[in-house]
């Protein structure tokens, strides 16, 4: 892979920080709304991991496809799904991006080629392979980005998909978000080889480890990988090492990790770290940051208002969209 230079000027720093803050503030609001029972079911927060999706999305074009997991609010937001539609989905309203049928774990959005939202660990990888196969067979230059956690590496679908993508030289960017815990099971309790990126080598797939707490590192790696994939060099595997600051879901009492460990990671949190750097480097000042916070707060409050004003799908529509109307 060739080196890719990234120009970290004021505008770009502002963009990266804002994108990470959009996810952070949106999800903080989600957590609050969950305790107020506006959002129900499972809610998996991405807080702490924002640099990964933020950096990766910078490298994508409009026609590229995104496949994510059940921890995908951030990915949807960053891909361009309107915040109001995401929030309305979590409220279960029909104005939601999946008409209220999917909830937090199943966000879909065809206009941005956002393919969810898969709540089966590893289940999205074969789909990503297929989307890339379709693009390749149709002569399109699109790539498919597939996000998954390190827990997926224990699934057969992970290995089957890496093999297929490499065997057929498909344009897939595999992004492992290694947050060290598969729900509550630590990586060293579940994998004989804890170096996840090394597994790609058995499929002859180029891979690298990326500091997933550093948005710039992620963006640089993503741009380099996407360029290589678009040139027709087959799939690339990125292992982004990151950390989930919040519990696995709102039901998780977090008995499996020490508070000290969480504290250690939050100190190198992606937003804190990038914001301090940008301030020190003089690319951003406090006024910029205040303005970003204000813009983000407005977006979040408008999203909540949109969700609150949303309506319930009529129960008479219950059986809609199980199959095409003409055939059912």
């Amino acid at each position: 892979m060739t080196g890719t230079k990234l120009r970290l000027d004021h505008d770009h720093c502002r963009l990266l920080l804002k994108q990470m803050l959009r996810v952070r503030r949106f999800e903080e609001k989600c957590a609050e709304l969950y305790t107020r029972e506006k959002i129900r079911g499972f809610l998996h927060l991405y807080i702490g991991e924002e640099a990964v999706a933020t950096g990766i999305m910078q490298a994508l074009g409009e026609e590229d496809a995104v496949v994510a997991t059940y921890r995908e609010h951030g990915h949807a937001l960053l891909r361009g799904v309107p915040a109001g539609e995401i929030m309305a989905e979590m409220y279960g309203k029909q104005e939601g991006c999946s008409r209220g049928r999917g909830g937090s774990m199943h966000l879909f959005h065809a206009p941005t080629r956002f393919y969810g939202g898969n709540a089966i660990v590893g289940g999205g990888l074969p789909m990503a392979v297929g989307l890339a196969l379709a693009d390749k067979m149709q002569g399109k230059r699109n790539i498919t980005v597939c996000f998954f956690g390190e827990g997926a590496a224990a699934e057969g679908e992970f290995h089957e998909s890496l093999n297929l993508a490499a065997l057929w030289d498909l344009p897939v960017l595999f992004v492992c978000e290694n947050n060290l815990y598969a729900m509550g099971t630590a990586l060293d309790l579940s994998e004989s080889e804890t170096d996840i990126h090394a597994k790609a080598a058995s499929y002859k797939m180029p891979s690298e480890i990326v500091d997933g707490m550093n948005v710039v590192d992620v963006e640089v790696a993503a741009r380099r990988s996407v360029d290589a994939i678009r040139e027709g060099n087959g799939p690339v595997f990125l292992e982004c090492r990151t950390y989930r600051f919040r519990a696995h879901s709102m039901f998780d009492p977090e008995l499996y990790r020490e508070k000290e460990e969480v504290k250690k990671w939050t100190e190198i949190g992606p937003i804190r770290r990038f914001q301090s750097w940008a301030l020190e480097a003089g690319e951003l000042n406090q006024t910029d940051i205040d303005a970003i916070e204000e813009e983000v707060a407005l977006e979040v409050s408008e999203a909540v208002a949109f969700a609150e004003a949303g309506t319930w799908e009529p129960v008479t529509d219950l059986l809609h969209d199980v199959g095409a109307e003409a055939r059912t």
Binding site: R99, F108, N118, I120, G130, L131, M137, N163, D321
Partner: protein, 326 residues
């Protein structure tokens, strides 16, 4: 006008026709290319269409079935061949959690026009792990269409209709049928796969069946005719959604129902059909309906034991005689 061919040839011709008609159609699966298909269905197609469109896959049922689903989402029209339904268990996550849910779960934004073909059934002394009849399981799942072509004509016609469907379609091909010969009419459009078909008219009892068991029922009906019992044979063809109207019409006419299904009895497709007859056709019945299913045992290897485990013509005749009071 019609032509005679085998079930295997009918399937192959259907695939060839679909691939010639639409360049987005391709076939993928284990041994579909260089080997020519486990049951030789795709024999010769690799030379004709090349390895991109007759795509051999590794033994990764979940991976390549999911890839077929993804390719369908991406604008292609894949035909995924899973060698047998026994191996489809390894792809159940993709079929059930992704293909079947996508349209509804995405609020109608995405749909999955994938066709998944697989062989099904017992009767070749392949023992417990290669003899399942799992079509009833898949027919449990909303979001899927499940087809079971029993005749050569249906085998020839069903694929094109399945590929027209914007949603996932599963085709179960009973492996004992591949060598069977039959007539295929020139007018394939007239073959209506959405509705059950009366393969033999009768007035005393309805034999309700599908797939490989159809021919056992036809033989049984012939035998029954010899002893004065007029059996109607209804071929379901589509297992989901079931053609309730055709089932009820036949039962209303004959007033007796015997369901013949190679699946196991407990929690089965035959149980579903019987429930519907009770719910919708109870007052038309002269006698409680009956079922003939496989014995509740992993299918054994030894020939005499396997035969004993499966519905057979003699068993169908006996059950039918009991029902008509003979």
């Amino acid at each position: 006008m019609s032509r005679t061919m085998t079930y295997r040839e009918a399937m192959r011709e259907a695939i060839r026709e679909a691939m010639n008609a639409d360049e987005k159609v391709f076939l993928m699966g284990e041994d579909v290319g260089h080997y020519g298909g486990c049951y030789a269905v795709s024999k010769g197609l690799l030379d004709e269409f090349g390895p991109d469109r007759i795509r051999d896959t590794p033994l990764s049922e979940s991976g390549f079935t999911g890839a077929g689903i993804g390719a369908a989402l991406g604008g292609m029209r894949p035909i995924v061949e899973i060698m047998t339904c026994n191996f489809a268990l390894l792809a159940l996550d993709q079929i059930m959690n992704t293909a079947a849910t996508m349209r509804h779960m995405s609020g109608g934004q995405y749909h999955v026009p994938v066709v998944i073909r697989m062989a099904t059934g017992a009767g070749r002394q392949l023992a417990a792990q290669h003899s399942h009849s799992l079509e009833g399981w898949f027919a449990h799942i909303p979001g899927l269409r499940v087809l079971a072509p029993a005749t050569v004509a249906d085998a020839r016609a069903m694929l094109a209709r399945a590929l027209e469907d914007p949603d996932p379609v599963l085709i179960f091909e009973n492996a004992l049928l591949y060598n069977r010969e039959g007539d295929v009419p020139d007018d394939l459009a007239a073959i209506d796969i959405d509705h059950a078909s009366i393969r033999r008219e009768g007035s005393d009892i309805s034999l309700i069946t599908y797939g490989g068991s159809l021919w056992k029922c036809m033989d049984a009906a012939e035998e029954l005719a010899g002893i004065g019992v007029s059996a109607e044979v209804l071929d379901l063809r589509t297992l989901r959604p079931l053609d309730d109207a055709a089932i009820m019409a036949s039962v209303a006419k004959t007033r007796r129902a015997l369901i013949v299904d190679e699946g196991w009895r407990s929690g089965s497709l035959s149980a579903e059909i019987m429930s519907r007859i009770i719910e919708q056709g109870f007052w038309t019945l002269d006698t409680p309906p009956m079922r003939l299913c496989s014995a509740e045992v992993p299918i054994p290897y030894a020939k005499h034991m396997e035969e004993a485990a499966l519905p057979q013509v003699s068993g169908i005749v006996d059950a039918a005689r009991k029902l008509v009071g003979g």
